[in-house]
């Protein structure tokens, strides 16, 4: 701006030149930003750039996450013997229960494989899981996303499903080398194909922007669906594995004036409480983590994705 009159007259010239090149640089960087926005928003072509930058941001995320991890550790280290004993007892009881269920499950699985063989249909691939932790870093409050502390180096890839010990939480939308971002099923832009366990009714559950509701907008008024029905992933669309619990129907409102009933469900996964989560991977890790290198790192073997939590 030539309107500025600095005190020393010797200053004027360099200032003037600078302001010219300043505008030029603004236009340049502005055009570059807009190009980035368009490429990223419409074509999703910038995954490499995002991965590279996510490595640059990693130290910040670790710095923010560390105090919480230390607090977690200190809590575990300093907890009383009584409490540990009690927790141990409870876990033993739970493990016993789960084992008895697992026994039944194994026989069912064998039977299922046998029946599938008889039918000649494709066998389901055994799922592999990566145990990950949700990093305590805040993202945009209006989007339901979380950051995981595992990336492509540990075998997490874009598009894979994220579950906790209660149900499906979401899917990985971007996997960087060290961290990845996942979209939760309650994000307004997220939909997941589901089916009703009671009768196999298929539908789509959409996020509502609220961590405690899913809506099922495409259920006809006369469909057989009731409050309390369990919804599991149907596996249609190929993104989510089949048969994991998603939600429980909490409300069904039928209005004869509308074509579709108003059905809402409560997600079963503890979306705002879980810390340790599992990513169901399709490919093995690019660089398998050697056992014992980290206390929670590692790809567990095939079979029971619900085994750890």
């Amino acid at each position: 701006m030539p309107g500025e009159q600095p005190f020393g007259s010797g200053n004027i010239k360099p200032l003037f030149q600078k302001s010219e090149s300043l505008t030029l640089r603004l236009l340049l960087l502005g055009a570059l930003s807009i190009a980035l926005i368009i490429l990223d928003h419409h074509q999703h072509q910038l995954n490499h750039l995002r991965s590279a930058l996510s490595v640059a941001v990693y130290p910040v995320q670790v710095a923010v996450n560390t105090p919480f991890q230390v607090a977690h550790w200190a809590d575990a280290e300093l907890s009383s013997r009584q409490r540990l004993l009690r927790a141990n007892r409870e876990l033993r009881a739970q493990s016993l229960q789960l084992q008895s269920r697992l026994q039944r499950m194994q026989s069912l699985e064998a039977e299922n494989a046998h029946l599938r063989a008889l039918l000649g249909s494709a066998r389901q691939l055994p799922a592999r899981v990566v145990v990950a932790q949700i990093m305590r870093v805040d993202l945009d409050p209006y989007r339901h996303e979380v950051t995981l502390n595992r990336g492509t180096r540990q075998g997490v890839h874009t598009g894979e499903a994220l579950i906790d010990s209660h149900g499906i939480m979401g899917q990985v939308i971007h996997a960087g080398p060290l961290t990845s971002k996942a979209l939760l099923i309650t994000d307004p832009s997220h939909s997941i194909p589901v089916e009703d366990v009671r009768n196999g009714l298929r539908s789509i559950a959409r996020g509502d922007g609220d961590t405690n509701t899913l809506s099922l907008p495409y259920i006809p008024n006369n469909a057989d669906i009731k409050t309390g029905d369990l919804l599991v992933s149907s596996g249609l669309g190929g993104r989510f594995p089949r048969g994991y619990p998603v939600g429980r129907v909490s409300r069904v409102v039928r209005n004869p004036h509308n074509r579709f009933a108003k059905v809402t469900a409560v997600p079963l996964a503890h979306l705002d409480r879980s810390r340790e989560v599992l990513v169901i991977t399709r490919k093995p890790a690019a660089h398998p983590v050697p056992p014992g290198s980290g206390k929670k790192a590692g790809t567990t073997g095939s079979g029971n994705p619900g085994g750890k939590s």
Partner: protein, 160 residues
Amino acid sequence: MAGPRPGLAVIWVTFFVALCLTLLPLPGWAEPLRPEWVLLALIYWSMALPHRVGLGTAWILGLLVDVAKGAVLGQHALCMTFTVYIVLRTYLRVRNFPVWQQSAVIAVLLTVYESLIFMLDGFLGHALPAWHWPAIITGAMVWPVVFSLLRGLRRRYQVA
């Protein structure tokens, strides 16, 4: 950034801390009140050392904020670059204002920034209620603290 220049580390440490504060988990009610720490640090440094911290720095930091917050790449970069451009156009006057008056200018700058973010959000079709106007007020309120803290750092480590 070619060659070792005095205090480069100091500047980037403050940016690192600002990024940490941006990602620090807050309880839900405090979330809209979180000031734009990175932008405040950027405004301070570009006002104090306009020959060293300028549009390029703003753009790179904006990209880092984009990735850290999971926004569309380029959104914060564009808005921060533009805000810093206004600072670079006016710093000769604003630098000599008393701090409370600077706070008022900061409020205007933050309003420009938040409106730009809001407009881009609307343009990209994101969920609506993202206009964080409380962040403008808290940002202007913490400015005197940010200012004296960063000025103290700058004088102590003689960043010039």
